[in-house]
């Protein structure tokens, strides 16, 4: 409330002074013209659906995936190679380390909290030949993995440790405080690096990994 007006006491035959009248009346007008707040409004009296959009929280989401330049369709040294018809990492452009997706989630954050979440499906060939492009048969082995991170304005806020499954559904979430600011949520991924010795271990002998179907979600609840 901007002002708590007092009760004016009027008596019969009084000549009411204009200034007194204006002062009291102006207080009521001032209250109604933009100073109504939680103290004026009865508890539980407003239907949330009557509120303007994003009145109490806002949410954003975006689809994301591996960058196309990092993907190669049809890996292997021949059309009949075991991995010739599965998508995977192009080791011409990726040789290890954290790779950032081009598709970010950008929005205007309002001071409060952010629920940040990422999920996708992922594939790697962990079960055959140590997960390499060449090979087939043999016992399933570890050695090929995928890992993910969520970044908020450049800072890592959530991370998934190495996933060694042929098919899995990585998912991570974090709730962080935020200021009123420009928010950028990014995803980075990482996979087993190829062997530096490409003579004895040609690129076709590199691990096979792929992920897609990513969704970044941000729910901003205001302070």
């Amino acid at each position: 409330m901007g002002y708590r007006p007092k009760q004016a006491e009027l008596r019969n035959n009084n000549i009411v002074d204009p200034k007194d009248t204006d002062q009291v009346y102006d207080a009521y007008v001032s209250e109604l013209n933009g100073n109504i707040d939680r103290q004026n409004i009865e508890a539980g009296s407003i239907n949330p659906l009557d509120c303007a959009k994003n009145a109490f929280h806002s949410y954003y989401d975006v689809y994301t995936k591996m960058n196309e330049e990092e993907i190669i369709d049809g890996i292997g040294n021949s059309t009949t190679a075991p991995f010739s018809d599965v998508p995977g990492i192009s080791y011409g452009l990726y040789s290890g380390g954290w790779a950032k997706c081009a598709l970010d989630l950008e929005f205007d954050a309002i001071e409060g909290s952010l629920l940040l979440e990422f999920s996708c499906y992922a594939y790697n060939n962990v079960q055959l030949g140590g997960g390499k492009m060449l090979g087939g048969g043999g016992q399933p082995k570890s050695g090929i993995w995928l890992a993910f991170q969520i970044l908020y304005n450049g800072n890592v806020v959530a991370e998934i440790d190495r996933q060694y499954r042929p098919f899995c559904n990585p998912r991570m979430a974090a709730i962080i405080p935020c200021a009123t600011e420009k928010g950028v949520v990014s995803v980075r991924w990482r996979a087993t690096a190829r062997n530096n010795d490409t003579t004895n271990y040609p690129l076709t002998n590199c691990p096979v990994a792929f992920w897609s179907g990513g969704r970044i979600t941000a729910i901003n609840k205001y302070r």
């Binding site: 109604l32 303007a52 959009k53 949410y59 989401d61 499906y121 042929p166 559904n169």
Partner: protein
């Protein structure tokens, strides 16, 4: 509403303020006080205590509890031969409507309109059991005999997707809808019953552009037993926890009567070669015979759903 316009009484010696003038002022106040909107309210003046209930539009959940009188009722899906219409583990309906239990979000009593901009979040838990331990041969599509003789197909997986009904459920005519702008995972559910000798293979294309605008392949659950052979190193059961989010950006409201979940497989991940798009392809069952291999036989499923309203336009 407009603001209350107020002109001050001019101060004059012995000026009389008439009742007409006062009444006019109070009438203005009365009029505007019956039409309060955001122009009257202080910035950030409304607090949560002023709201009725929550800003969440809908909350719904279902558990794996099922009717005890229904055969195999403890499972969300069951491909054992005892369930006649689902002998093969393809195109199974992860949904028990019609047999006494449902594993779906049912809004039929009060259908929900998902307005443009509303957000659905579904938290789920899926548990599955592998029933048979036979090997699946990539080259022949047949159950293999020994690892050294046949190459195991490493690309095989099972896939679970959500879908919705936009009208009251009818066991004879209901058509489940794929959520807009997603890969149409329901396009092959027009076929009835199990599939065999699929020709051409059912395929689903996933995005191959850096910034696709439709055909999104998110919102699915993909899993495999880590190999399809009798080996202690493979997985026989597993539980997955995850979340699906969907914001209605289709441009039109969506009426929700039910949200159900569908499993299909085995599928295989394929690359883009020639005219074939990158995506998933159902596996040919030719030569498999009546004994299923690669069978995900049993499963439990439960989840909860929250729908957030975008608010008034």
């Amino acid at each position: 509403m407009g603001q209350v316009n107020n002109t001050a009484f001019r101060s004059k010696y012995n000026e009389t303020i008439t009742s007409t003038e006062m009444n006019a002022k109070y009438s203005d106040f009365q009029t505007e006080s019956n039409d309060v909107d955001n122009t009257n309210i202080k910035s950030q003046g409304v607090d949560r205590i002023n709201l009725q209930g929550q800003v969440v539009k809908v909350f719904k959940s279902f558990s794996n509890k099922a009717a005890t009188t229904t055969p195999d009722s403890v499972y969300a899906f069951n491909t054992l031969s005892g369930r006649g219409a689902l002998e093969r583990s393809q195109h199974q309906l992860l949904h028990g409507s019609g047999v006494g239990y449902t594993y779906e979000f049912d809004f039929s009593a009060s259908p929900v309109t998902l307005e443009v901009g509303d957000l659905i979040r579904i938290n789920y838990a899926l548990q599955w059991w592998r029933v048979e331990n036979e090997q699946f041969d990539k080259a022949t599509g047949n159950a293999g005999t020994a690892p050294s003789a046949n190459e195991r197909d490493y690309r095989l997986c099972w896939l679970v997707t959500p879908a919705y009904l936009s009208a009251a459920y009818d066991p004879l005519s209901s058509f489940w809808n794929n959520f807009p702008n997603k890969v149409n995972w329901m396009s092959n559910y027009e076929k009835k019953g199990p599939e065999a000798n699929i020709s051409p293979p059912d395929r689903y294309q996933i995005p191959t552009a850096d910034n696709p605008v439709s055909g999104f392949d998110d919102g699915i659950l993909v899993f495999s037993p880590d190999g399809y052979f009798s080996d202690p190193e493979t997985v026989h059961e597993q539980t997955h926890h995850g979340v699906w989010t969907y914001q209605n950006t289709s441009g039109s409201p969506i009426t929700l009567y039910k949200i159900g979940f569908f499993i299909q497989g085995p599928m295989k991940l394929i690359s883009q070669i020639g005219s074939r798009n990158r995506g998933f392809e159902t596996v040919s069952t030719s030569g498999l015979g009546t004994d299923n291999s690669v069978q995900i036989g049993l499963g439990n499923f439960h989840g909860n759903c929250i729908i957030y309203s975008k608010g008034s336009a």
